[in-house]
Symmetry: C2
Subunit: 144 residues, 2 copies
DNA sequence: CTTAGTGCAAAGGATTTGCAAGCCC
DNA sequence: GGGCTTGCAAATCCTTTGCACTAAG
């Protein structure tokens, strides 16, 4: 990967005047190394070891922090739980089937054009790294 | 508006073999007439009158129904509550500021091209009527 | 009539919060 | 040392569910 590695993220947190605790390091690592999106609980399960327990509340607080700093993005993929993903996975869309809940990850070149246009027209700096789009997958479109 | 009015939605529910209750009519009306997205509770507040009370649980159940039928889409605009919007408002994007939570509604011509491409490449019938995109609004981009 | 739909109340789950103790800087 | 962070546990809050009753078709 070429873009922000977890060390860089840690450095930025420090630059922002935030304290680097082992908990935060582990959480950043977990999310940065994951190939895809994770729920708060999944992160908690990966991070909290018997030897060095991390509290779920801390996971939530850290995720909120990272989200606000723009390092991770929140996704609603349905199912009542919010997912989080690092911003460096390359732009892609999560196609979420509204019928069966399946999530398809789609690469999409059109996103860059969209990002530029949103910046120009609305002065909005969009994080198009991870957006979710509802719809119907083939299977459900056929059966429905 | 040219596209589905609430009467048409009601008719489709009936065609689907579902029963048309006053509660469902009111909920469909509320969401179809609203100019933008609403949370379940906002819909509840609009729909439930002292004279003819509607239960919150019914609102949730109806929204789930309408979502599955594809009449409304669920949006996570942050803030812990899910919002719902009718599908006939014309394609637009909800730009959600990850810092201050402001939601900007953006018209976007690029969406149609995107929809076609998702259909062609992934056989996914995307509802691009309402998607949300995280990012930073001008104000927060400047102050941040 | 039949059975989907509603209301009510209680359960369920994810996320948040208050506060004392701990640790980074 | 000072104050940001954590852990813990309780509190919140949104949403779902079970069940008896009501009403749409």
């Amino acid at each position: 990967m070429y873009l922000p590695h977890c060390d860089i993220l840690i450095a930025r947190l420090r630059q922002a005047g935030l304290r680097i605790t082992p908990q935060r390091e582990m959480i950043v690592e977990a999310i940065a190394h994951s190939a895809s999106h994770l729920t708060a609980e999944e992160i908690y399960l990966r991070v909290s070891q018997p030897a060095r327990p991390v509290n779920l509340a801390t996971v939530y607080r850290t995720l909120e922090l990272l989200t606000e700093m723009g390092f991770v993005s929140r996704l609603d993929l349905g199912g009542g739980q919010v997912s989080y993903a690092a911003q460096h996975h390359g732009s892609h869309i999560h196609l979420v089937c509204r019928r069966c809940g399946t999530v398809i990850d789609a690469e999409q070149g059109l996103l860059e054009a969209l990002r530029r246009q949103l910046q120009a027209q609305y002065h909005f700096a969009a994080d198009l790294g991870h957006i979710s789009v509802p719809g119907l997958c083939v299977k459900c479109a056929v059966s429905g």
